[in-house]
Symmetry: D2
């Protein structure tokens, strides 16, 4: 089944494997008239790029984006925007040994079951490199949202078992862990060195806050804004959980604690608290949209593990290759991209919710 | 936007409001040849029905289903199955006062923002009664899955702050909380009485286990099985979080703890643990599929709360009407239904993943 | 596969069989704020209804529509509009003999091949009664389009081999054939009486003209406006051909004859001719949208025909029951409905084509 | 809106403009296990390529395809197949003059209306070069269909006003017009030289025959096989009409003439005639699938024509550049590609129509 397409109006289709010729994405349905150049995309790709610190894979990739269509004289034309990033550092020989066994925690076994065989080089389509297409498309979505004053900020809220204790937005991009708390980041660095020494990896939790979102995005029943966010976030390889607002903690509260009271501020409705995380009934309520995602530890570890071969033998393996001991900081960028993609689609879809909106476009009504 | 449709091949479309003429669903894409009668649907609707205990709304509804199309001589014909449940106990006068203000924790405010006005009677389309259509469709999905030995069991894992401590599957349907632990259920009953006395409500956590699932369901990238489950579950009104396998706890572990080792059992691949919850790379891995959902406390409480009116005044309200102090036990049934709907669609979509499968159908190949 | 849904934003799902309990449709994605009552729907259904003249089936059906959801205080709420029409005149015994053989020109054989068996009563899902859902939904689409000055008029252009020679719009609904030419209609009446005497049926051609359409509807490549119209029209049971503008005649011309020159009229672009039929590159060009559809003769005829039985015997049959000797006049209404459904969806989808449109909605920009 | 995607299971997304960097397509949902190499694609692209005779544009393009993903060790992996064809012969200066006026019969005017501006170089996205992506994807679809004995053959049935009079399949690829009649082709050559001398262009009619199709493809109501074919064919730039079986001629017949009788042949159902063109009720009936498409004359002609400029002046123009005086022969290849894409999707979708088919896959039932 065609599983590489996301979105209804702003729709993206990604392609590419870890050790194939490249990775790419086609963005179809981007409105005409947005200023766009490769640098807009590259900035976000650079944040996701490997090799930014000693805590990420040492695979060296420039991940240089090329826009192949859909932009003319510096503006989007309304037709598909095709973007391509060539793979430069394929060392497929690193992976030849994994052709015949199933790495624990990876999709090797399920791909073989589903398709009969697999492109085993670097995980093929199930590699983290697949997210490059998402990030390139997300960069366009983020730029569009910015035209409407909508800003998305994600960061590591906890890595290993070390949570942030303060919040300094400026700090996020200053440390290799994308933590808004320099002290916590230092603790994580120490913790991580120990784990790396033990040939182990760690997980963490990402939080994402969107400000400036108008009310009304999302649709009742199956296309709730939080439902689409949950799908988008869980579609990222290593994500194991999603919660919005108070999330799982809400399950432990009473209604009197969890309900957000409405008051007026200069005649405008405001919620006194935001336990709901910015949605009510699946529709954005005008307050900040806040959710969290759980990231499992990188499954590729150099420690000895038990597994089986393709032809049915029990073996012990130690996964070689260039792996991130922690993918949380790079996943932060992917979370932002996925959030942007869901929000822009919801924003465009909401335009047809009311007859008076439609009259604004076609009858120039007020 | 059309938000009331779910699924690609097995596709459902629901309709109806709390105090309109009825609630219904059209199931399109159900394969031909399944034995089906109204009793198959009614059984599952009865589990969701209000008035099963003193801990649910006292609104009295029989929720009797009528199959209007798509079944002939006791079997599905492959054409749309339309099902309708009439509303019997509309007491709209209970709700006339909520026409003009926004209940905290409800979708009243966002519906007015999105659509310009709303059917305020009993919450209209955002009422919990909307889930009747899901459960009716889910009953067909469950019956189909059973043909392949796939069984879905959901239950309350925690209510208020009281978790289950033992697991007795038979106990689930014996107590009003759908808890597999009679002692925990008794504690919950006591706790809930206190909260009800205080005009308050409580939330909880649901766990859902699917056994007998073949490998290979779900697609890489955006149509991962867990991503679609997350969307389906978050689309249920009061759900605020979703986690699969170890979920948020996985974020606190190391790779060496979280990876599931593969071994052989009678020549068949088995995982020694199931931290992943039954999916690897978004594709079912043959072990039990296990996820949890966080349910917020019922927002309708009789306590005094602060809110605003439609025409911009700050007021205090106490929500009247017939409300569940806890919706978790009834939501258990909805979770099962949504799970069944996602799984059957994934099962049907997976049929075209391999050329040799297609030859089995069209060339009668082995 | 789920084949009973049409549309992306304005999306309809139909259900029901000829001799089941009823026929219905769910319209999801209708913008909020449109005045709507059952009479709006009934008017269009009455035009499609059987028994309007001696040239249609004598099956007596009132085809009374009930709106079950989505409308509150006389206006659409933005949530699904469920409509139901009960079957009143099922005389299933008429059809018991067709359970075991395949009527030539009908879908009996292909349904049995596809699904293994079929609801044979009156053709089941493949009956012309299936179009009731389309017409009910189309009535809403037509009403919406009218808010923007868009009018759709279809009529019989030729029946049997008798074409119209004059065009009087007022005449269309005055004669039983929906021909805009009273004289041609009289000739058709005579011709048809002869064919009915011979137990035969006839076909014809429908033309549909839409005026008031803005430019810009339709999308390049696969979602061209004419492509979606072609699909919608060919999806009507007896339609065997579709052509837009000069259609098949254009294939016989030279470029110098077929191109439409542009000139200015009060500073506004106008085409001097309309060979293209109102689309250029699949996008509406502001001139009238004109297309034609070929309708095959009703396959149910009382004459002796050769066919086979379900269990493999060659037989001769004469199809009994109450059949239209000509379905063209009733199909005219279905063509209008399908056109309206395609146009409203294109109109809503086009809203997000330009960044400046989106700013009109969200930033209140001029 | 995202208009560049086609198909539900076997889904393609095309991108690219006439004078941009290239043209491409992503094929998602192709089953795993099909042998595939670039030569398979190149063969079909070569048939569509310009410069094959003096009757096509003299633009010189090799249209060399590169497969960038989705194929491993010579077989499709089930993941997206990205294909790219670079533009080599962009002579954008030829088109600078069309930046400011609207060519009659082209999409220049409607693109400007829809998007506010356009990539005018060579028609941008509305150029015939856009079909390269369709043909590359169609080559894969054709190869898949061949595994099931399904063969698609399209040819020119009439060019200018000159119809074929005999049918020799071997002749089709021997003459520059893809006519199965050498004599007719010779007449066309003479006729065309005259029109080219007059700086004019001509249209024609394409017929497409598919043999070996199983029964059961296509779905009732909106997803009829002929409806999806009509959409796919009308989505090709210059196509103005579609008819299946007897098509418009059927509208002039009686039921007794148009119905196809069923008989038995070695115990298997056969139709004695094929007026229906291979579908009954929108589902393939096992006989040859036959349809025709009307192609308008190339709108780009060097003759003087009247038009307007972007800034509202009336002018006379003569369109320069390298244009086909007749596109019918090249469109034949595109028609085959679109047919293959519709058929493979219908074939895959039909797999889930019956419970017993599903059991064949999952329970290994007979």
């Amino acid at each position: 089944m065609a599983g590489s397409t996301l979105g209804t109006i702003f729709r993206i289709t990604t392609w590419g494997e870890s050790h194939g010729k490249g990775i790419g994405v086609v963005v179809d349905g981007c409105p005409a008239g947005l200023s766009l150049c490769e640098e807009d995309i590259q900035q976000m790709l650079d944040r996701r790029r490997p090799g930014q610190s000693k805590f990420t894979t040492q695979r060296s990739e420039n991940d240089t984006v090329h826009i192949l269509s859909g932009v003319f004289e510096g503006k989007t034309t309304g037709t598909p925007i095709s973007m391509e990033i060539q793979n430069e550092s394929q060392r497929s020989q690193d992976y030849s040994d994994i052709a015949n066994y199933y790495r624990p925690g990876h999709a090797d076994y399920t791909f073989d079951q589903k398709y009969g065989f697999r492109d085993y080089r670097g995980g093929g389509r199930s590699s983290g490199r697949e997210t490059i297409g998402r990030v390139a498309a997300g960069a366009i979505a983020k730029k569009l949202l910015k035209e409407f004053g909508i800003e998305i900020t994600a960061y590591s809220k906890e890595i290993g078992r070390i949570p942030i204790e303060t919040f300094d937005k400026e700090e996020i991009e200053r440390n290799p862990f994308r933590m808004p708390d320099a002290k916590a980041a230092q603790k994580v660095a120490n913790y991580l060195k120990e784990r790396m020494h033990e040939c182990d990896s760690v997980g963490g939790m990402i939080e994402c806050i969107t400000s400036g979102l108008p009310t009304s995005l999302g649709d009742p029943v199956f296309e709730k804004l939080d439902a689409n966010l949950a799908k988008a976030i869980l579609s990222i390889g290593a994500i194991k959980g999603f919660e919005i607002g108070d999330g799982f903690a809400a399950a432990k509260t009473c209604g009197s604690e969890n309900n957000d009271a409405f008051r007026l501020n200069n005649g405008k409705a405001v919620k006194m608290t935001n336990h709901s995380g910015g949605v009510l009934g699946g529709i954005s309520d005008g307050s900040d949209l806040i959710f969290r995602a759980a990231v499992k530890p990188t499954p590729s570890i150099a420690r000895t593990q038990q597994t089986i071969t393709k032809d049915g033998k029990e073996i012990e393996v130690s996964v070689k290759g260039r792996h991130d001991p922690i993918i949380v900081p790079r996943a932060v960028v992917v979370v932002e991209a996925m959030t942007a993609l869901v929000l822009i689609d919801a924003l465009l879809l909401n335009m047809s919710s009311r007859l008076d909106y439609i009259k604004k476009i076609y009858l120039n009504a007020e």
